[in-house]
Symmetry: C2
Subunit: 201 residues, 2 copies
């Protein structure tokens, strides 16, 4: 029996989610368990928690912008704070889940391409058009994706994923859940590793 | 010349500040630099940032309560979530700074006694009376402290300390500032260490 996956929730507009996505491959190796990638939308989640995007919060906003770049540099990840930030990412989410149902490896590859375009190359992936263009450049069938993301069933699917994340207690990005145990933040990856290694404490 | 201190800001009602305080001695050794303890009041700071106490936030509140205990256990620190939480800690802050002007080592010892009483033994240190009783049991002159914390000059001093922390960008607890570089959270202690070891990156 293969080991149970660890859920890896992330928002495409989240700098810390981006950094976590770049660490995910090595992390799986160290954990000895696969990560199940689950993009989410912080907009509806912040409606539940009453929170605001980090960069809009006095004091915390300045710290965050400094810390995004510092955290990326620490991990050797390219980072250029996007001119348009934050953005809505529902189109990216839909494209991900549509691919995920067909080939999770391809969905993951799309996520990497979108994150890289937004956080390393200042490409706006918020609107469907920009997202699809990045997908096309990465070799995906953008016509198929364009049709899929307008499908009401897929829209409903993404809504269910976000509702499911909220029900599981997810309130930020990245967010990991291993055997029911939640870990929030890219800076909690060492704790997640230690938790799995020791079987909790 | 002795090495420049690293500022260590904390709120007496903050579980993560408490855990950080218990790690502070070893941390100084590893950093090769002294920590300058600066209690602050998150109430006035949250008025600036528009934030609320962690445990009051939907989803994040449940996570936080679980994480307080988990983080403390990870570091081998006793933790019992206080029945009365959060509390106002202005009396504790005033007592700390009054002692700090006379003997920083004694101020630090008082901080340890207050934190231990509140987070390990469920003693309410919010009201002046409860705070002074804990101080007395730890061998401090509670009559002198009781008089001092009513002194308008000391009240003004604490206000200035909090205003100064806000001006320095402090928005949470614990919060470290080393040579102008800010680090928020007990889980960022490894990054603070790495930053000082490497002289930044």
């Amino acid at each position: 029996m293969s080991p149970a996956p660890v859920d890896f929730y992330f928002e495409f507009s989240s700098p810390y989610g981006y950094v976590a996505s770049r660490l995910a491959g090595d992390l799986e190796g160290r954990l000895g368990r696969p990560l199940r990638w689950r993009p989410i939308l912080l907009g509806p989640i912040f409606k539940v928690t009453g929170q605001a995007p980090l960069t809009n919060i006095p004091l915390k906003g300045d710290y965050s912008k400094r810390d995004f770049a510092r955290t990326a540099r620490m991990h050797g990840v390219d980072y250029r704070h996007p001119d348009n930030f934050p953005i809505g990412t529902v189109a990216a989410c839909r494209a991900f889940y549509w691919l995920d149902d067909r080939d999770p490896g391809e969905a993951r590859r799309l996520a990497g391409a979108l994150y890289d375009a937004y956080f390393a190359r200042n490409r706006d992936i918020g609107k469907a058009e920009g997202m699809l263009q990045v997908a096309r450049e990465a070799g995906f069938d953008d016509a198929a994706l364009a049709a899929a993301i307008e499908d009401p069933a897929l829209k409903e699917r993404v809504k269910r994923e976000v509702d499911g994340a909220i029900a599981a207690g997810v309130f930020g990005s990245p967010f990991f859940i291993a055997d029911g145990e939640p870990f929030w933040g890219v800076d909690r990856i060492p704790m997640l590793e230690e938790w799995i290694r020791r079987g909790g404490w």
